[in-house]
């Protein structure tokens, strides 16, 4: 089951990795009957969902319904109480799988941290060098490729406090992409940003989506959901309320489902 990671010779093929399919019948991420509680508060209730390595899936739902918790369970930052999550067939319950799961699922958080003692370039190259044993020069070449992609090649030497919030998020996206994840887990990565920076970051995400990078994002940005998402999952109080295509969601589902209509009205959509 263990898939050996290798560093490829040129980044063309590395780029190909993230768009390439997992190539198995099973879904890339299988969330099976997951229940997760914090104390007496049950955040996920017998939650089931599968994600294949394709397109952009947007997770929507009111605050506190467990969207972040779901993403955090998928890459093992939270443990599941009942049920199981398999990423490429590996269970998150086994400690020894966590490293591979996290390499498969790159994650970017709402409040990103770039490591303060490393400049942008070092933030990007450290993980491939240390974790994938990539050659340093190659990692730097690759970093430049991704810095260009997020429009920040001029900031290679900058420290985190010399970057705006939006720029930090773009670097964080690049840092996740450096590891050739099979999917990106993005948790409200624009919600701490002002509108201008938000659109900068969303533009990057839309470009990546167009290139076929698989993403699983929690966001309240409906325009982004409309443009980029292929699938929309609506969660409410720890359960799945809808799991439909984006077209369906914004046409029929929003009319038929009261809760969804209410939610969309509430966020002004």
């Amino acid at each position: 089951m263990y898939i050996q990671r290798t560093t490829n010779d040129n980044y063309e093929s590395l780029i190909h990795d993230i768009t390439g399919k997992v190539g198995k019948e099973m879904a890339m991420i299988e969330v099976k009957n997951v229940t997760k509680s914090f104390g007496t508060l049950t955040v996920l209730k017998n939650f089931n969902v599968e994600f294949n390595q394709e397109g952009v899936t947007v997770l929507l739902g009111p605050s506190g319904t467990g969207k972040s918790t779901l993403l955090r369970c998928i890459n093992g930052l939270e443990t599941v109480d009942e049920g199981d999550i398999l990423v490429n067939g590996r269970s998150v319950k086994e400690k020894k799988n966590l490293r591979d799961i996290r390499l498969d699922c790159g994650m970017v958080f709402q409040r990103t941290v770039l490591f303060p003692h490393l400049n942008v370039m070092q933030n990007l190259t450290m993980s491939p060098v240390k974790l994938l044993k990539m050659d340093k020069a190659k990692a730097e070449e690759k970093a430049i490729y991704y810095l260009k992609k997020v429009g920040l090649e001029s900031k290679a030497k900058a420290l985190h406090n010399e970057l705006s919030g939006g720029e930090q998020q773009r670097i964080a996206i690049a840092r996740a992409l450096m590891m050739n994840p099979k999917a990106l887990l993005l948790d409200e990565i624009t919600s701490a940003l002002d509108p201008e920076m938000t659109s900068e970051v969303l533009k990057i995400l839309e470009n990546l989506a167009a290139e076929g990078v698989c993403m699983l994002c929690v966001t309240h940005e409906m325009q982004f959901a409309k443009h980029a998402a292929s699938r929309i999952i609506f969660m409410d109080k720890g359960s799945m309320e809808a799991d439909v295509t984006a077209e369906e969601f914004f046409s029929t589902v929003r009319k038929e489902n009261e809760r969804i209509a209410k939610f969309l009205n509430f966020i002004g959509e």
């Binding site: 890459n75 093992g76 490293r99 996290r102 990103t112 003692h117 996740a176």
Partner: protein
Amino acid sequence: MYKLNFNFLNRYGDMLIDGMKTTLLIVFGCLIIGFLLGTVLALCRQSHNKLIKGTATIFVDILRNTPFLVQLFFFYYGLPVLGIQTGPIPTAIIALGINTSAQNCEIIRSGLMAVKKEYYECAAALGYGKVQTLQLFVLPIAFRLAFKSLVNNFINLVLTSSVCFSITVVETMGAAKIIVGRTSRPFEIYLLILLCYCIFTYIISFLAKLVDKKIHIVL
């Protein structure tokens, strides 16, 4: 009017220099012990294991709440009763090194506590294990945050090392005392070594500022 006379330097200059060399040996020995043991103690105090945490806490508390001179005498005159005997210089290095480690522990620990949960999660999400996270992110960040205080502590260590003459170590202060006994020029001699300590700590502060400029970080 008292006339200064530094002629004793002709005869005893070498002795003073040897004393200074011994001081350097002691402080750099202590620097290494203090830094390494201090880091280990700080990590132990952060541990979730109650036994490890408790032991480290008691150890550090005892060292921080007792006079160094008494610790030094305990090591030099007390421990040999149990058959643990080392020469004056090694004893000085061990005793002062351990004492420094307790002070460093608290400083490094405050650096460690400044490294918030987000950094650990970010490293975990990238695929780093616990040890790598510590080694590549947490400790480097904590040390940088603690750097200035660690340097202050080092300067303290240099000054405190003069106490080691009391267990017959002929370091700077010890040499000065011997020379005073032989020349009866206490004013000149103590003035001279006061200046030496002062210059030495100034140099350390100056170098530390240069280093701090390079490694300074903001969270």
